[in-house]
Structures are given as structure tokens and as C-alpha cells.
Amino acid sequence: MNRPLTTLVWLLAFTALAMLPQVLSVKYYLHLSILALIWVIVAQGQNLIQGFTGYVSIVQAGFMGIGAYGSTLIGIHFGWPIWATIAAAPLITALFALLTGYPSLRVKGHYFAIVTMAFNLIIVIVLVNFRELTRGEAGISNIPKPWDGDRDAYFYLALTLAAAMTLLAALIARSRVGEILRAIRQNEDLVGAIGIAAWKYKLFAFVISAMYAGLAGALYAHFQGFINPEIFGVAQSLDAILAVILGGTGTIAGPVIGAFLVVFLPELLRFADSFRLILYGLILVLATIFMPIGIVGVAKTVLARLHRPGARHDG
């Protein structure tokens, strides 16, 4: 697709989403849409490190937790307004990401994945046991909600931020930094060989992705009004990976579609009752086998075929 057409599709999608509060008569779907928009931010962050850089991080939900608890606790202890605490959340998360990124990024591939997963487990254990600060497993209730909990307004906040973060991800992807990140994914040694300090760029991607998660975590906290460590476990980090893969790795639209999928699909499968888990697992397996390039990948292939009949799409 050419540039103007792509822009048009994005604008249409944004407009369609912006009309949701007027269109949806059942507020339950609006509720899910807000969650999905928050997950768009998580997934865009995950895509930066997983999709572009090729490092599969399993700590995104842990970083969401740091953002959520950071924003909530600053609000409780220092009385900052909600906006200030939400803005502070990504910064706090960045600090933790720097500390964990350094040891994690010394290793590659599966080692990196498992070390980050260990960090996610550690974050949850500390959130559970450091009760003086976090109130432990019981969680924190009555976190202030802006606009007195008006869901339509919060939807627009989430939509604006999700759009902004998607735009930022697109800018990073197009920049020289994005180029280097993709080069690292393809051949890290080569990047080092031409005199670029790959570790700086990897750490940058890791910290930025954590900041995305931190922001999303803060948004989650002030939307739901309740947080506890359970929400920020490894299972949710795996959801972030799923969102990227199902939507389309290394694309900008992929995480958006993937985020809506990981939020809506389990809810749509509620009809299956006790078979829900089995069915969800089966869908994942089948989707990965038959659609390994994600929905955006499939769509691109189809569009390319339509444009150039008979031509093979590669890339």
C-alpha cells in the first residue's frame, strides 16, 4: 500500500473507534474496548523489543505492575493529581527497566526470555510480600478515577494515548534507531562489526517498551480502580507476546489488532463454559500453524496479490 492510502486507513480506523461510545449500546463492550486500548499500548511496547529488535521479553506485565503501583502509591502518599501520577508512571518504570535490562540483555534468545520471565516472577513476589507498601495480595481499592469514573470520557483518554503511542512507535520504527533495531534482529554481530554499540540500542528499546507498559499499567489502575499483584503475572506478559504475534510481528497495525484479539477473544469464548481454556488454546495453536505471519501479514499478502495478480509477495 502507498503512503496516502495507509494514512487514510488509519484515519478511518481511528474515526470508527472514536464513534464506539455512541454506537455501543451495551456498555460491557465499551469496557472491553477500553481494556483493549490499554493493551494496544502494552503491545506496541512489546513489539518494539520483540518485533523490531527480536528479543522476546516476558516481563511486560511486571512493568505494567510497576507503573500501576507507582502511579497509585504516589497518589496515596504524596497526594499528586492523577495526571501527574500517570505521567510519572513511565519514568518510574524506566528506572526499573534500566536496572533489569542491564543483566537481561547480556544474554540472547531463550536465555533473555527466561531471565525476563524470572524478573516478572520476582516483581510479583515482591508486590505480594512487601505488604507495608503494596498491601499485598489483598490489593489496593478505591484508586481515584478521573471524571468520576465516566467510561465514555476514559475511552477517549485511552484512545488518544493509544493513538499517540502507536504514532510514536511508527516514528521510532521509521527512524535510524528503528533501522538499527531491525538490523540487530537480523544479524547482531554484523551491527557490532560496523562499529555500532548494539547494546545501547537494545537497552533503549527495552526501556522504551517498559515505559509503554508502565503507562498502560497506570491507565489500567485508574480505569479499574483496583489493583493487586495477580493482574501483573507472567500469564499477562504472555498475552502481550500473543498480541504481537497474532496481530503481526514487526508491523505497526499488528499490535493494535492483536491487543483487541487478546482482550475480546477470551470474552467471546465464554459461551464455551468449561471448555473455554481448551478452545482458546486450540485457536492459538491453529492460528500459529496456519497464520504464522499474523493477521496484518495475511492482509498484506492478500492485498499484494490483489494489486499484482500472479505476483508473489515476499517480505
Partner: protein
């Protein structure tokens, strides 16, 4: 075949035509949000079963009667995996999409607290079951009530009991990362200290741990006078077994509420002999009450498994709701029903032994209190030995001062 189809069509046509005229056939949808899968399912699934059982009983007896109408209950149960996000989604779906006004179940504290944090703004009534975190009923949420008493209400009584036995150095091993379990232990500690005793160790296990020998080895070296085990049944059963295997030979007290079946899966009866369980007087095999015996029989017959001791908390929710709706004379006005719940005498059909405060099942905080009992494992069974000294009225006042 054709005849049957025609007959079916005719029957359908008649029922459609007659529908509005037959006041007796009204439906009331009641939602259940509970852990039906995952680690919390041990508590959640029996609760969901219990609500369905109660609904069938009430329907068979003519339903909920409001004025001239009788409502048959339709139970819609969703899985919340004991996860806060899933629980919020499930209840949002129940209220927003299914149009449910009454949500029951709620076995587990995290998911319950998440729903409690927004329920006040909804035109709905929430009835909490097994979730024991105290703060759920300290927030004065007008449309929320809970059938299970908070853990420290029981802990206080347990502490008095343990102190009276003359123990000075008590070692604790438990799911202390869970708020209400540590609240229980805090309450025990307070009573122990009054009697000059102390807690010498607070060792932790988590829901998935099954090997508590490291914690117990540490405790063995401290030579305590008594061992106190607080936590979920499944790991707790292993604590009892492993304490015997490690040769820890001191009186053992617990707050676990497990059934005989749940313990005997893990331990031999000899390994359990003499263990005390200091807990609300929930369901036991040797249940004293007539309702308890009937509940046990019916549940076992319908679901081919013995009921978990805490499952009647959910069963009782539906009978309390029925009584409140009938007292309020409306199914639509949830505010009136919520108010009726808070001025309800204990309905005769409930299974747990509630201690009414000022004659009411739920106090001003929306909290119900059962009596607390000391149960002892004797030759393969939990035997009720004595009531624990507990004062529902005093605790209710204390709960009201918290926020």
C-alpha cells in the same frame, strides 16, 4: 416426526400467546461470578454449584414471590479464575449485557475486591461468599453484603482459645502473603500477648507449594510449644503430614476449613489425630443442624462429590436474597432489596449457623457472623468440641470503626 414438529409448533404458539397472561412464569436472572477454573476453583466451583442447587430448590418450591407474581430463578455463572480483571469483566457482562441485578458467588479476595471497588455505582446487589479479606466490608458499600465473617473475627476467638491452653511459644506456618490469613494470625498474636505468650516464627507458604519441610525444619529447631497452620486446605494438609514426618511433636492448631476427604487425600488419619481447627462453624460431616445434613446429602447426590465446607456461604446467599426480595416486594428496585438485606432476620433455610447482630443477619457494614467453633480431628473425623468465645456484636462495632 411431522406430527411431533406440528405439536411442538402448536405448543410454542400457545406458550407465546399465553406468556404475558401467566404471571406465575416470570424469570429472575441471577448472576454468579466465581473461580470455576484455576487454583481458586476448589472454593469457587462448589460455591457456583451451591447457588444452582439453591435455585433449583427455590424454583421447585414455587420461586420467589413478589406480590401476585412468582419468579423462577435463572442462574448465569461466569468464570473469573479468581483474577481481578476477569472478575470485573464477568460482572460487567452480567450487569451490562445480561441485565442481571443480583450477583452472587465470590470465593476469593482479589477478584472480590476488584468488583467491590465499582459495585456501589451500579444498580445491582452483590453478595459475597467465601472471600475473607476484611476490607471488603469496611468500605460501607450499601449494596454489598457478605455471608462469611472476616478472618480476624475468628482469629481473636482462636487466640483466646490457644492462650487458655497455656501455650507460650507458638510457631506459625501459613499462607501469610494472603491478607486475611495474616489478619487472623495478628488477631491470635494479640490475644497470646495478653496472656504473656508470643509467636516465635511466621513462616510462609504459597498456594502452589506442597513441600513445607524447609519451613518446618526451621520451626523444629526453635522447639515451640505449639504449631499454628493457617492457609488453604491443599497445602495445609501437607504441613500436617510433614510435621509428623519431621517428628515435630507439639499440639497443632489450624485455620484451614478443610473437609475430611480433602485431608485424607494427603494424610493418614493418624497423622491428623488431635489437630484442632479453629474456624467459623461451617459444614462438617457431623454437622449439628438439620439443614446442614440435608445440604450435605443433596449436594452429594446432585454433584457426585461431597460439598466443600465453605460452599454453603453461597447457598445461603440465595436464600437471603430471596427473603430480601420478598420483604422489599420488588425485584427491580435494587436499592430497596439492598436495604431489606440489611434488616433481614436470619432466614430459616440457611445452612451456616449465623449469629445475628440486633436480630439481623447482616449488620450495618453488610457483614454476617457465624459462630466460631473448636473442632478436633478424632479418629478420622472433625468433631465439634466447643464454641469459641466470640462476640459478634463487639466485633461488628469494631468493624464499623475501620475504613
Amino acid at each position: 416426526m411431522i406430527i411431533r414438529t406440528i405439536a411442538g409448533a402448536v405448543a410454542l404458539a400457545i406458550s407465546i400467546a399465553a406468556g404475558p397472561g401467566l404471571a406465575a412464569e416470570k424469570k429472575l436472572a441471577v448472576g454468579v461470578a466465581d473461580a470455576l477454573t484455576g487454583g481458586g476453583a476448589v472454593y469457587g466451583l462448589p460455591q457456583a454449584n451451591a447457588v444452582k442447587m439453591a435455585a433449583d430448590e427455590i424454583n421447585a418450591a414455587g420461586g420467589i414471590k413478589v406480590g401476585a407474581d412468582a419468579y423462577k430463578i435463572d442462574v448465569i455463572a461466569y468464570d473469573d479464575k479468581a483474577n481481578p480483571t476477569e472478575a470485573t469483566n464477568a460482572v460487567r457482562k452480567l450487569i451490562d449485557r445480561d441485565g442481571v441485578k443480583y450477583v452472587l458467588g465470590f470465593c476469593c479476595s482479589g477478584s472480590t475486591s476488584a468488583v467491590a471497588s465499582f459495585i456501589a455505582k451500579e444498580k445491582a446487589v452483590m453478595l459475597v461468599g467465601n472471600a475473607a479479606e476484611r476490607s471488603i466490608t469496611t468500605q460501607k458499600i450499601p449494596n454489598l453484603v457478605r455471608t462469611r465473617p472476616p478472618a480476624d473475627y475468628t482469629g481473636q476467638a482462636a487466640g483466646t482459645f490457644i492462650a487458655r491452653k497455656g501455650h507460650k511459644r507458638v510457631a506459625v506456618v501459613g499462607a501469610l502473603e494472603v491478607g486475611f490469613y495474616s489478619q487472623y494470625v495478628d488477631a491470635v498474636e494479640k490475644e497470646l500477648k495478653k496472656a504473656g505468650g508470643e509467636i516465635v516464627a511466621r513462616e510462609v507458604f504459597s498456594l502452589r507449594d506442597r513441600d513445607m519441610t524447609p519451613q518446618l525444619t526451621k520451626i523444629r529447631a526453635l522447639s515451640p510449644d505449639a504449631l499454628l497452620v493457617v492457609g488453604y486446605v491443599e497445602p495445609a494438609a501437607f504441613v500436617y503430614r510433614q510435621s509428623v514426618e519431621l517428628g515435630i511433636n507439639v499440639p497443632r492448631y489450624g485455620f484451614t476449613s478443610g473437609s475430611e476427604e480433602q485431608f485424607l487425600r494427603v494424610t493418614t488419619s493418624e497423622q491428623m489425630e488431635g489437630v484442632w481447627d479453629l474456624r467459623p462453624t461451617e459444614l462438617t460431616l457431623l454437622s449439628a443442624s438439620k439443614n446442614g445434613i440435608a445440604y450435605h446429602e443433596n449436594y452429594a447426590r446432585i454433584f457426585k462429590a461431597s460439598p466443600s465446607p465453605s460452599s454453603p456461604y453461597a447457598y445461603d446467599q440465595l436464600y437471603a436474597l430471596k427473603a430480601a426480595i420478598e420483604a422489599a416486594g420488588t425485584v427491580d428496585n435494587t436499592e430497596a432489596v439492598a436495604k431489606a438485606l440489611r434488616s433481614l432476620p436470619v432466614p430459616p433455610q440457611v445452612v451456616m449457623q449465623y449469629q445475628p447482630v440486633d436480630g439481623k443477619m447482616f449488620d450495618e457494614n453488610g457483614q454476617a457472623y457465624t459462630s466460631n467453633g473448636a473442632f478436633q480431628w478424632q479418629k478420622g473425623k472433625w468433631v465439634f468440641v466447643e464454641d469459641l468465645p466470640s462476640d459478634a456484636k463487639a466485633y461488628s462495632l469494631f468493624l464499623g470503626t475501620l475504613k
